[in-house]
Amino acid sequence: MRPRLRWPASAAPEDGDRAGVAAVGVPVLLLVAGLALGGTAGWRSVTGRAAAAPGAPVGPPLLVRSVEGPIEELRGQGEIAYAGADGVIAALTPDGRARRALGRATKLRGKPAGAAFEPGGTLPMVSADGAVAYGYLDDGSPASVRLADARMLRLSPPGTVAATAIRQSADGAVVAVCTGKRRGETEVDSPVTSIAERDGRQLASFPGCLLDLARDGRAALVPEDPAGASGTHQGPVRGVRLWRRSGSYRPVLSPAAAVEAASLVDPTAKSGNVVVDGAWLAPDARRALVRVAVADPPPPVGGWRSGPALVLVDLASRHWELVPSEAPTSTGPVLWAPNGAFAHALPPDSWDPSGANLLVTYAPPVGTPTLLEVSHRTDSRMVFSPDGAWLLLHGGGQWVFIRVEDPSLRVTYVAPGEFAGWLPGQGTR
């Protein structure tokens, strides 16, 4: 093959044309290349980045408003499901960068009969995989809605209503409902707890209302006295025991122990006047927090009322100990983190407009508790992130994320909707 740029001694006419083209084209091409390279170098010398390269991957715009704090710290914390004003249930990454619609659950607008004052009782809660929303129909009966196609499934027989809030396992595959026939405004006759898979297939049932469902759905904290609980109406809970799906029971906090625990705070506690007003099972199902109080305490005098006692029970040994927790005027939520930590809140008095500081005590799995103070806040509804590293206060129209190991690290933004669950996973981006 003949070299292209060799100049022959006698050139043919067509060879001369080709040479002319090359003589002009090559310098022009190199000149343009020089211009491009030089321009690039000049641009970069000023801006420090490539001019011709497509822009560096800039994160998508924030989908939340009024952000305060290092929101990027929330990256990789799964998604938060919420119900928007338009009835659409969506999932938002906590760092506010991505959002996806999960579906609609507009029929879930009711609330359970016995949970008129239970926070979140009127809102649907989304399963961990974001596929199903659990809530209540207008008549108070529990139901689930498959978000993909809005297919609704009743979780109790017709004519019955939910006595307490629906509980679901951590993965949302098992759901527990306590239902019965409504009597009056808030009472429910002969309540029965039904534990079922999400498709409605019943796994087990027992009389009375459960207090909490295990993370894996295989056990539940239930009232100590099943006869009392399964009577004509849901009676006071005097003690707590653990129900297992195998059908066996084991004691957790006997009525006598509940009285003894309550008497650590209230000297009027005695057998017959002490009730359990909440119980929460640890993620490993080896411990439980139980709150006991004197029933029908005297009306508040000044700023004080008789306070409850929160006790931590080791289920294997049945040994219990007081968890010192303030409750001089009101009681707040108690919740476990997936890593074995727990938190309990002391909400301020709602009538107080100025000193409204919410106090949350965070007890890590190891070490001394930490006090988290949130000013100007009365709503104490809260939830842990799937890894337990963050605590989200999701009430009051504003979401406040607090890193529990470093409470000074906080992120706040306007809630895009009503909280409906913190879904694990990396989120969709």
Binding site: A19, A22, T40, P267, S325
Partner: protein
Amino acid sequence: MGSLLGDADVWDDTPARPRPLRRGLAGLCAGLIVGLAVGWAVAPRPVPSAPVVPLPAARPPPQPEQGGAVVDQAILAGPMLATGLGKLQEVQPNGISARVISAGSAPVAILPARKGAPLVALGGDAVVLIDRAGTVSQLNPSGFRARGMAWAGSKVLACGRRPLPPDQGQIADAAGEDRTRNAPALLLGVKGGKPSEVELACPVGSSAGGDVIAGAGGAQVPYRSTTRGTTVLAGRPGGPLRTLLSRAQLEAATGPGASVGAIAVSPDGELVAVAAGAAGGRWAMLLLPVHPAGGQGPAPARLPAGSRRIAVAPGYEAAWLGFTGEGAALRLAMVAVDRRGGLGEQVLANRAGNGYVLGYDPANQVAAVILAGPPLERADGFAFSADGQVFAVSARRGWTLLRTEQPSERATLPIGGTLLAWPGTSP
């Protein structure tokens, strides 16, 4: 091009060979130069950042982290007395200003202020007077090691111990026990005079006016490295003392081996609060009427009529008792501290554990935990304000103030030192 020797010169009309590569390279160089210049000229310049001018750092005054309203209430209640770094200071509840009362003494307790009377303090095993100039003078005789005190009328009731004889002291030392033995309490005149003995042991307490005194008594039982009394006595200063609680009643209400750990008398002198228990055992707080209806209970081990018992959580011991208010506004606070594990022998400020404060309204029998957890971690001082509106706790991480009638209202002040008393007035 060239010429051949011997040949006539001839013109070579052949056009010069174009050199595209050479021209191209020249163009490339020119392009690079021009491009560089143009690129540099047209590239957008970043907005220059504002110059950072370092300002001299001003130390901000300590501000309450939360609860400004509570701090305002506390300021109305007047100054507090705190100790730290070997001096006694008057601290304003906003934590901003402090005044040294005495630079040479670091007391562990202060008696409530009396109008016209000098400051009475307990420190260094002695009851001392501190005058306005900060001069310290000892009240109790030498050889008496004061461990507690209370007003008794116009006098000071000091309880304490006396050193063992040297030979017994060495034995006690070898056994890791206290080198002192229990001794009768002393009534000390503020203006001097010979002290008189009162058959009371530590702890002691008195009503607001000092017209009712109470203290431990009875047999001394071991309590860790020392001993404590097993009964509770009360009466008027200088008058006969009556047994409010016998040893049998004390043990029945708490447990075997129990002794008296803390005593407080209500301001009106009608109630005595007692915290008792054994080292490592269960503790309880007992509220006893000074004048029980119907006298003592029928059985010797039963509490007197009108008494109340509140059990202290297992693993906790009552470290402080205090009353405020009168009548329907009477309030009692009990501080229970974690004594589990290796915390038992630790003094308050060295504890890593926390505890809780139980508030009790005796008139309405309403009780609740009003403070708990982290604010009590390494807590070492507790006091009601003189007007009873605010309760304060000093701890290593800062002081916590809470409104007595609305305990969920609270403030945290980033100030140090140990709270001793809250007299509300300057000494």
